[in-house]
């Protein structure tokens, strides 16, 4: 089990890696989205906001998320640190993502572009 702080750190690592990647920012200029990250085993909520290609992070929920990413804290931390890809936990049901299929594919793509081989 990861702690709320560990989860926050993993999301910061994800955000920093994303924001350093100029190509990703260009790719996502059109994709303004609010993504809520919710742990199922601890009390932990975060909101990632993509606005004009730039990602920001804050602790706590957002009222109207476009995507909600739900899993146990360990899986979420592993995923946002890039130790695992979202595909396997998504396919085996450990990870749930609520939102449109297009947005799910886009989020998956972003994480692969950050952490992919």
């Amino acid at each position: 089990m990861a702690t709320h702080d560990e989860l926050t750190e993993s999301l910061k690592a994800f955000m920093d890696s994303y924001n350093k990647n100029e190509r990703l920012k260009v790719m996502n200029r059109d994709w303004n989205r609010v993504v809520v990250v919710k742990a199922t085993d601890i009390d932990s909520l975060h909101t990632l906001t993509v606005l004009d290609g730039v990602v920001s992070l804050r602790e706590g929920a957002s009222g109207q998320p476009d995507l909600t990413v739900i899993s146990d804290s360990e899986t979420l931390a592993d995923m946002f640190y890039g130790d695992i890809t979202p595909t396997e936990p998504y396919n085996n049901g450990t990870l749930r993502i609520m939102g449109s299929e297009d947005d799910i594919v886009r989020l998956d793509f972003i994480s692969l572009m950050i952490w992919g081989e």
């Binding site: 260009v26 790719m27 996502n28 059109d30 994709w31 890809t85 979202p86 595909t87 396997e88 998504y90 396919n91 299929e101 297009d102 799910i104 594919v105 886009r106 998956d108 793509f109 692969l112 572009m113 992919g116 081989e117």
Partner: protein, 305 residues
């Protein structure tokens, strides 16, 4: 008579059956669509296994090639592995040979492809040979893989970047449910209106629009100015569709039978039956020799006469 059947995840509206002769032997070639129903496709494959001479898998790729690297699509592999006795192919083996050859012929024998021609490939990781062949002849390439598969308005312009992004993303994308990354079933009969509008510029700026027909169709805007469409798996309705959108020329890489061109999976299955060898033992040169013996050439159809 030899029987070749393509089982496709695509729309059953495109079902077709022909009897033809290849090198003096009669072939019945049929295509059966399952409207995106994966389990129905599995059932059909079980039914056909051991009863026909070769099977093609349509509406889905099993293998994607990026240079020497091969990525297997999880859902495609499940279908492939359901067939135990009959030789089964997805068309990727032939595609690499046939489509490179089609590009060569178009460049040498027509004015449709030349250095600097502006080409939009709606997807290229499923047709790496075609992409590479056109890039090698210095066409002005726009690879639309991110645009049309992931909705990301980012045109990839070089083979180096295409290869880099493909190698980063395909190991995982190939494990996703196939319907999330490719239009299957009824989606093949409709257009994605929001994306048609959003991405129209890529079509309108191109001189040649190449790649998978279902993707080309799904995102094609009206008001084309005589562009050439390089693809296959087209029906008579598709030809009417292209004409109405303003396309100028249709080039299909597979031969026409009774008004339509089959997918490469069907043709590869037929060639497999002709050669009578396991798929793993057939070399690209054998396919190429056979294509020449069969006089397979791209079909070029003017749409604006």
């Amino acid at each position: 008579m030899k029987r070749v059947v393509s089982v496709s995840l695509g729309s059953s509206k495109r079902d077709h059956k022909v009897v033809t002769e290849l090198l003096g032997e009669k072939f019945e070639i049929a295509r059966v669509g399952t409207d995106g129903d994966f389990n129905r496709a599995l059932e059909l494959l079980h039914e056909l296994d051991g009863k026909v001479d070769a099977i093609g898998l349509g509406g889905i790729d099993v293998y994607l090639f990026v240079k020497e690297k091969r990525y297997a699509i999880k859902d495609g592999l499940r279908l492939l592995e359901a067939v135990k006795t009959t030789p089964v192919v997805d068309g990727s083996g032939l595609k690499n040979t046939l489509e490179r050859e089609a590009v060569r012929i178009l460049a040498e024998e027509t004015g449709l492809l030349k250095k600097g021609t502006k080409v939009l490939m709606v997807s290229s990781v499923d047709r790496f040979g075609m992409a590479e062949a056109m890039a090698e002849m210095d066409c002005d390439m726009t690879f639309g893989d991110l645009i049309f598969a992931a909705g990301i308005p980012y045109p990839i312009k070089t083979m180096v970047e295409l290869e880099e992004i493909a190698n980063k993303t395909l190991p995982e994308f190939t494990q996703m449910p196939f319907h999330m990354i490719y239009p299957t079933g009824k989606k093949q009969d409709t257009q994605d209106d929001a994306k048609v509008e959003k991405f129209a510029g890529y079509y309108l700026d191109a001189e040649v629009i190449a790649g998978d027909f279902h993707l080309i169709r799904r995102f094609m805007p009206a008001g084309l100015k005589g562009q050439t469409i390089l693809t296959n798996t087209t029906t008579r309705d598709d030809i009417d569709f292209l004409r109405a959108k303003g396309a100028g020329t249709l080039v299909t890489t597979t031969p026409e039978y009774e008004g339509r061109s089959f997918g490469t999976n069907v043709m590869e299955a037929a060639l497999l039956a002709v050669l009578g060898k396991p798929w793993e033992e057939i070399t690209p040169q054998e396919y190429l020799d056979l294509l020449h013996r069969l006089n397979f050439k791209p079909r070029i159809l003017s749409l604006q006469e």
